[in-house]
């Protein structure tokens, strides 16, 4: 049993690296996901993860499957879209998700087109679905740095972020914290998507951010409960997904996100906060 549960990680360095990368992501992305879902911005993070694709693709065009080039490209594109949409939302009447929905399809079409200009369909698969089993030192350091940055930011921005979520007008009238909070939040979302993109690819990076957050809604009632539950759900999905991928020879990115999907389904049925089983029992 121990062999089954721990063996792959003891035996293979690439499995340990994959686990470390995913656990680092599990610490930072899910809390951001909790705030995204509470602000009804889930769709926006999805759109943003797609916006990263053309940026990463330009990096790929310039220097092939190189981590720094694709990261810088993805970061630049993601931040540009995030800040632009933030400005558009604040300056016009357009709702945030509406201003982002436009980017969604355009970005993915552009990204796939750009990669196809030079790369093979294997390259495209790597970019879309990640290479969690091939994380090198540079990628691990990048993910770790993103995770640490996010946690520090959360500590600094926690109060204004909560006020911005509950009563945006109140924060807006209380000084300049509102704009700073909102824009830095968007930047942190992009950072985590770029981190997730190394491991899970542009299409699934948002999975480790949002699925744990919606899982947590079924188990915790308060914000201080939601955050640890989401982190726990992400860590569990990472570990179980990697194990499943190893033993069943499945692609690891989808395995991790699907594991989170299974936990989500179980939570819908049995979650203490509004799970179906509890509703039926009460009815």
């Amino acid at each position: 049993m121990t062999e089954f549960l721990l063996g792959p990680f003891i035996e293979f360095a690439f499995m340990r690296r994959a686990l470390m990368g995913c656990l680092a992501l599990s610490l930072s992305a899910p809390p951001i996901g909790v705030f995204l879902t509470l602000r009804r911005m889930s769709l926006m993070s999805d759109a943003m993860s797609h916006a990263i694709l053309p940026g990463a693709a330009i990096g790929f065009l310039v220097s092939g499957l190189s981590l720094p080039a694709m990261t810088i490209g993805g970061l630049a594109a993601g931040l540009a879209v995030a800040l632009l949409s933030g400005v558009v939302t604040r300056a016009t009447l357009l709702k945030e998700d509406a201003s982002l929905a436009a980017f969604y399809l355009v970005s993915i079409a552009l990204g796939v087109l750009l990669v196809s200009l030079r790369g093979s369909s294997i390259d495209l698969l790597h970019i879309l679905f990640g290479t969690v089993l091939a994380l090198d030192d540079a990628a691990l350091v990048l993910i770790g740095a993103i995770s640490a940055t996010t946690l520090v930011w959360l500590a600094l921005a926690y109060r204004p972020l909560v006020i911005e979520c509950v009563d945006p007008l109140f924060l807006r009238l209380s000084g300049r914290a509102s704009t700073v909070t909102h824009l830095s939040f968007l930047a942190v979302v992009v950072l985590n998507l770029v981190g997730g993109f190394q491991a899970l690819g542009t299409l699934l990076a948002v999975g480790i951010m949002l699925l744990p957050a919606v899982i947590a809604r079924f188990w915790a009632a308060t914000l201080s409960g939601l955050l640890p539950v989401a982190v726990g759900a992400a860590a569990l999905s990472s570990y179980a997904g990697l194990l499943l991928a190893y033993h069943r020879d499945l692609p690891p990115g989808p395995a991790i996100v699907l594991t989170a999907g299974v936990i989500y389904a179980v939570s819908i049925l049995f979650g203490r906060q509004g799970g179906l089983a509890w509703r039926i029992r009460r009815a």
Binding site: L38, L156, A157, Y158, R159, P160, V162, I163, C165, V166, D167, P168, L169, F170, L171, L173, S174, G175, A177, A220, A221, T222, L223, L226
Partner: protein, 259 residues
């Protein structure tokens, strides 16, 4: 322009030919006058008279189209403003006491330590509005009246010298209204300046010594008894009464120059 019936000597808020509106169209214009420090002023007028716009104009949420608003050294962030329909996300999972504590934001900022005395201050504010027993409830579980009590608790904690309330007693039960009116009385005793948009004239007559009657412009401004006359109210509602119903009110109006 206004006498200082509430005992204040210095103005807290001065309008100079100020107009406010949206998209370039004024909702209320030509507002001229001052609210004295420590004054508790009722802002009254028919629906669409520009009461909310005037309050929003003070905090910059409605555009100032012309004229000037002087806060006499205060910044917007120093005011407390309670809108009629706050953009509050009631589904956000925080408790009543956590919500009330956001009133300390200006004082604590992002890093200020939340000390035991702050905790005690928040608990005291909740007790004052009658929510002590519900401090651990999620804000989504509160009734409309309880939510309004909670908003008053947050406003108490803001410790603002100038408090703007937009229809604070609309849609709440009589007991809550009486309690919250008591809080306004407390602010008055503490010498804070309060401007409240209201529609219940009996309440204004009973609890607000000063009144400002508007209908897209200022109809009358002064002591409540002199402002809420039949003649003024008729003019606010768009019906001119040929002979003024109340000579005293007419004199007051003339003195105010608000014709």
């Amino acid at each position: 322009m206004t006498s200082s019936a509430a005992g204040g000597t210095a103005p807290a808020l001065t309008f100079r030919a100020a107009s406010f509106g949206y998209g370039g169209r004024p909702a209320i214009q030509g507002v001229d006058g001052a609210v004295m420090r420590g004054e508790v002023l009722a802002l009254v007028g028919p629906n669409g008279a520009g009461k909310s716009t005037l309050l929003k104009g003070i905090v910059g949420e409605a555009a100032r189209l012309s004229g000037d608003v002087d806060l006499h050294g205060l910044r917007v962030r120093d005011l407390a403003y309670l809108p009629q329909q706050p953009e509050i996300d009631r589904s956000f999972p925080i408790t009543a006491i956590e919500f009330a504590a956001t009133g300390l934001w200006r004082r604590l900022g992002a890093f200020g330590r939340y000390r035991p005395e702050h905790r005690a201050e928040v608990a005291d504010a909740l007790a004052r509005v009658g929510l002590a027993a519900l401090e651990g409830s999620l804000i989504g579980a509160l009734s409309g009246g309880q939510m309004q009590r909670l908003l008053f608790a947050r406003t108490l904690l803001q410790d603002a010298p100038l408090i703007l309330l937009d229809e604070p007693f609309t849609g709440i039960d009589a007991a809550t209204e009486a309690d919250l009116l008591g809080i306004v009385g407390l602010w008055r005793e503490q010498g804070r300046t309060v401007v409240a948009a209201l529609h219940d004239l009996a309440q204004v007559r009973a609890a607000f010594p000063r009144a400002l009657l508007v209908a897209g412009r200022v109809i009358a401004w002064g002591d409540t008894a002199a402002v809420l006359t039949a003649g003024n109210l008729a003019r606010a509602n768009g019906r001119e009464l040929a002979p003024p119903a109340d000579p005293a009110a007419d004199a007051a109006l003339a003195a105010l120059g608000a014709t």
